[in-house]
């Protein structure tokens, strides 16, 4: 049987598919968050250096990872939308931006809360902190550029260009702790060596990473649905949905 992979690139069919997927992802998010927080706060041992305060990593690290990852995904979909002129990918990119900005903000904020007891200061002009702050500005710039342009197609394309230009910042953030040896601690988890922390801590953190991942998917799908409705409000299938009282 031939599967038509492009079927779901049409907003109308994606809309109903997303509608079916959202409850699933919400369910997984709730389970994983509960499990991750339980492991993080009750199972994981107290750190011998940092005491109880280290527990903020269960939020800080997932948020920081997601902030970079979502930017790359956003730039990827925006680029696809620019190159192949596919409407849905651009809608997807603009749906990602607010969630990415939120995770960037959480990463910065929890970092400050963690920095106060550990370093004795809320904020340092350290390479990783500064580049993460720039990432936040890039998200804000992307969103305000799109908001300033009335024509949605032009907004998509202009946003795609700035998103692609800004993607150079992501490797800078990622490698900043290796390139500049400053106050921010190095990566605790890496692919090619054993993690430098207790395994329950790692488990809790990874569960929280997956939880934020699932949360992002759920929220982004939901936001894409809203954007689709907004942009396709003139079409027959939206009118049909409206008549049925489904919206």
């Amino acid at each position: 049987m031939a599967i038509n992979w492009f079927k779901y690139s049409s907003p109308a069919s994606f809309y109903s598919l997303a509608g079916k997927m959202i409850p699933l992802f919400v369910f997984v998010t709730v389970i994983l968050t509960a499990a991750g927080l339980y492991v993080g706060f009750f199972v994981a041992p107290t750190d011998f250096q940092q005491g109880e305060a280290y527990r903020i990593i269960f939020i800080h690290v997932p948020a920081a990872w997601m902030s970079m990852f979502l930017y790359v995904v956003m730039a990827f979909w925006a680029g696809i939308g620019l190159a192949f002129n596919t409407r849905l990918s651009s809608m997807f990119a603009s749906a990602i931006a607010p969630t990415g900005a939120m995770f960037t903000f959480i990463a910065l904020w929890t970092g400050a809360l963690w920095g106060k007891p550990m370093w004795g200061t809320w904020w340092v002009w350290d390479a990783r902190l500064t580049s993460e702050l720039i990432l936040f500005f890039l998200y804000i710039g992307f969103m305000s550029l799109q908001a300033a342009i009335d024509d949605p197609r032009r907004a998509d394309k202009a946003g795609a260009i700035i998103a692609l230009v800004g993607v150079v910042n992501v490797p800078i953030i990622y490698f900043s702790v290796q390139w500049w040896n400053t106050l921010h601690q190095g990566a605790s988890v890496s692919v090619n060596q054993a993690p430098a922390m207790a395994s329950t801590m790692l488990t809790g953190m990874l569960i929280m990473v997956f939880a934020s991942w699932m949360y992002s998917i759920a929220v982004i799908l939901k936001r894409t649905r809203v954007i689709i409705l907004e942009r396709e409000s003139h079409t027959a299938w939206v009118a049909e949905l409206h008549k049925k009282g489904a919206i």
Partner: protein
Amino acid sequence: MWIIKRDLLLAARRQSDVLTTLFFFIIVVSLFPLSVGPEMNMLRTMAPGVVWVAALLASMLSLGRMFSNDYLDGTLEQMLLSPQSLSLLVLGKAFAHWLVTGVPLVLMAPVLGIQYDLPAEALLVLTAALLLGTPVLSLIGAIGAALTLGLRGGGVLVSLLVLPLYIPVLIFGAGAVEADMSGVGFDAHLSLIGAFLLVSAVFAPWAAASALRVSLE
């Protein structure tokens, strides 16, 4: 290359634009000693950063004019239709923008550095760093100017889009002078700015050209 000549000619006809940018730069730099106090040691350490931030703001001031006049009278549309490659046109326009706004800043910088009591060698490094760095500002700025062409509130938006991208140039530009004054050597910093210049000379005109096509379609 006619585009450079044309933009220079247009700038020569409207000298006030050029002078405004330059005086903005001078005034911003001169305001700092008034606000933080005239202590020589502090001024000397602050100087590179202050000069660089002022240069960033000054070159951003005139970004709006890079495309908007041509856009308003329809010239830009004609350029788009011409067989000439649009990226080359953008490169020419960015170069003209640099000649008109960047070069005066570079020439003025040593004089301002003297105000801050910088030693002679640091003045030289500051000028060299600005010479390498200000074209990057024009090139990256061209992307922002092309994206916000014809938008309401474009002037404010352009700062939000472009300033985050300026940060690496700022860090290494100001860092070069500090490295020289602390005796570490400034070569690495200048090489990095040179690398920024090469990368942005290749990619920025291309990105700005596609942004222009988006803005004009």
